[in-house]
């Protein structure tokens, strides 16, 4: 009774985490994500071989005790490359999601909430969506110059319209709801209405779209690298490894299967965590304790 406020806020925060972990799928997904991220961070300690070391003697070896995931066409250890590849792939994935979310949410709220801005912003979004993703990304990277940061910037811009459109559509619905008018009647500022009342109600579509963009970004980065406008092809990323392994799909499928599994695991677990987070953050879907 002494300080109900702090107790309230504290329990609420832990309650969200507890509820999140109480679902088995979410718990497993979280563990998978943590393992993947930890492996990427601790790559030099985990990987048994140098991911760049060529060994013609050992080329295209099937998975074995010495090479858990086999070796690729240059005799490089696939396990070590998958572990190292996670560094760039995960970084690019998360960075693109963050960049496109920031841009997309800002543009979407602007277009959805302010009629005057809508005409301009919506046409801009339409124009960007008219270009095929990869073509727009290639021209952006070509203009900016190939580097990891520029790949992130290019992909972040390419995926912005996807988020902006969804945010705009949802904002158009939410701005007409009575609680927005009620907040206005209480003297709440437009800025606060948009950034607190509207944005908070957009969390679930943003989470869902964000996890999709994460997956697209990992694959698109591979596409860009394959086309020679991304990062240098000898730097391992999951995407480039899949591309490089394509020509051995029939004879040495492990080259692309293992980075493929890494992508599937990271995207799937991120999506499951996103789903769980969405349900837990919406008090109407939250189960009573």
């Amino acid at each position: 009774m002494s300080s109900p406020v702090t107790v309230q806020a504290g329990t609420d925060r832990w309650q969200v985490l507890r509820l999140l972990v109480s679902r088995k799928t979410v718990l497993i997904s979280l563990i998978v994500l943590v393992v993947l991220i930890a492996a990427a961070l601790l790559a030099p300690m985990i990987s048994p071989y140098d991911p760049y070391k060529l060994s013609i003697m050992n080329r295209l070896k099937a998975p074995s005790g010495a090479h858990w995931f086999g070796t690729d066409d240059f005799g490089r250890d696939v396990f070590s490359r998958v572990v190292y590849g996670g560094r760039l792939s995960l970084t690019v994935g998360f960075a693109v999601v963050i960049l496109s979310s920031v841009l997309g949410i800002a543009l979407g709220l602007l277009a959805g909430f302010f009629r005057g801005a809508d005409k301009f912003v919506s046409r801009l979004i339409d124009a960007m969506m008219a270009f095929p993703d990869i073509l727009l990304a290639i021209s952006l990277v070509a203009a900016l110059g190939p580097s990891v940061i520029n790949v992130v910037i290019a992909l972040g811009i390419v995926y912005t319209p996807r988020l902006a459109r969804i945010v705009r559509a949802s904002t158009l619905v939410i701005r007409e709801l009575p609680f927005v008018e009620a907040a206005r009647a209480l003297g709440v500022s437009t800025w606060r209405i948009v950034t607190v009342h509207v944005l908070r109600n957009l969390v679930s579509p943003i989470l869902v779209q964000g996890t999709f963009i994460f997956a697209y970004a990992i694959l698109a980065e591979a596409g860009l690298s394959f086309l020679g406008v991304g990062v240098s092809p000898d730097i391992p990323t999951w995407g480039t490894m899949i591309n490089a392994g394509q020509q051995y799909m029939g004879s040495a499928d492990w080259i692309m299967i293992f980075p493929g599994i890494a992508i599937v695991l990271s995207v799937l677990s991120l999506q499951l965590v996103g789903d769980g987070l969405r349900d837990v953050l919406d008090p109407r879907l939250r189960k009573e304790l």
């Binding site: 109900p4 406020v5 009620a182 907040a183 009647a185 209480l186 003297g187 109600n201």
Partner: protein, 332 residues
């Protein structure tokens, strides 16, 4: 402005400009709200009562809705008069919630579903008065107790969906009164509620009014509710006030043919005993896009003649404190 008056609306015209023309939703509304008084604005759907309240709050949908003429004088707590029809957005925002608060018809959707009711009340307090979050939450709890929500300390952490309609309307009232406004605009606050809950909410509003010495502008189409809560009544028809009077006077001696028609639509014991059907006023409310010339009620009025359509009648005194917008006031 009379020192006893907190809100004075004079000749207010709020029009909506659309592709189909100009909708004169509010076309010359005049009334005064005294300190500690409840003024009910009664009217059918489309009579302009809600637009009047939105004009006062400065919440008209822009750019379609505009105040074309008239003034809305409001005296704030410091005694300074503001004309809300011409006030800046910043002034309006400072007054909204803190000096004039509003409760709405839909208690189910007028609260943000993703925040606890305590958070939402605290937000209003922080917005206008600042201070610490803990203090704002303490005020929120005090307000929930004030609107007689049982176990307020526990309910403060609940979300709107965990509450019933009546409870949510109580939360809305707590939210509106959190900053101790001098005027409360209640736009059909009981329409969406069960009859028993309606009576509780009206009772609560009446008690809070006495405790907090506030004025209430009560907007409704329900004459039964009017009789329950109002001190004075303004009857609106097609964007104008057609009659204003003391509540007893209005029910005992309705003067304007429209008011008489409305009252005769209510079931009475005599009518029930006779087994007759309920009476209705023939015809429909005119479209605000094309109002009839002269008295807007003339096309439906049993007493109308050629004189009625010549000019818009003035609000003429019937008795002291009782006016009607009808040229036949003297002969009725």
């Amino acid at each position: 402005m009379n020192p006893n008056v907190v809100l004075s609306v004079q000749g207010l015209k709020t029009w909506f400009h659309s592709r189909d023309g100009v909708a004169k939703s509010v076309d010359g509304v005049t009334f005064e709200l005294a300190k500690g008084e409840t003024l009910a604005i009664v009217g059918e759907s489309g009579s302009g009562k809600s637009v009047t309240s939105l004009s006062i709050m400065g919440l008209l949908p822009k750019p379609a809705g505009r105040i074309e003429a008239g003034s809305i004088h409001f005296r704030d707590r410091a005694g300074i008069e503001h004309d809300l029809a011409h006030a800046s957005a910043a002034t309006l925002r400072r007054i909204r919630g803190a000096e004039i608060a509003m409760i709405f018809q839909e208690p189910m959707t007028s609260l943000n579903p993703l925040y606890t009711v305590g958070d939402q009340i605290a937000e209003a307090v922080l917005q206008h008065e600042g201070g610490s979050r803990a203090a704002a939450m303490a005020r929120a709890r005090e307000m929930l107790e004030r609107v007689e929500i049982p176990a307020a300390a526990k309910r403060i952490g609940e979300y709107p969906h965990q509450m019933s309609g009546g409870m949510r309307q109580r939360v809305m009232i707590a939210l509106a009164l959190a900053c101790n406004p001098s005027v409360l605009i209640a736009d059909e606050p009981t329409t969406a509620l069960d009859v028993t809950v309606q009576a509780q909410i009206l009772d609560l509003l009446r008690r809070l009014q006495e405790e907090l010495h506030m004025s209430i502008l009560f907007i409704t189409h329900n004459l039964g509710v009017v009789a329950e809560i109002a001190h004075r009544v303004a009857v609106m028809y097609a964007g104008r006030v057609v009659e204003d009077a003391d509540v007893y006077d209005l029910f005992e001696r309705p003067t304007h043919p429209y008011t008489r028609g409305l009252l005769s639509c209510l079931p009475t014991d005599a009518l029930l005993a006779s087994g007759e059907r309920l009476r209705a006023i023939p015809g429909n409310v005119p479209s605000v896009l094309a109002l009839p010339a002269g008295c807007t009620f003339a096309p439906r009025c049993p007493l109308a003649d050629a004189d009625c359509t010549r000019a818009v009648p003035e609000l003429l005194p019937v008795r002291p404190q009782h006016r009607a917008r009808c040229i036949k006031v003297a002969t009725i």
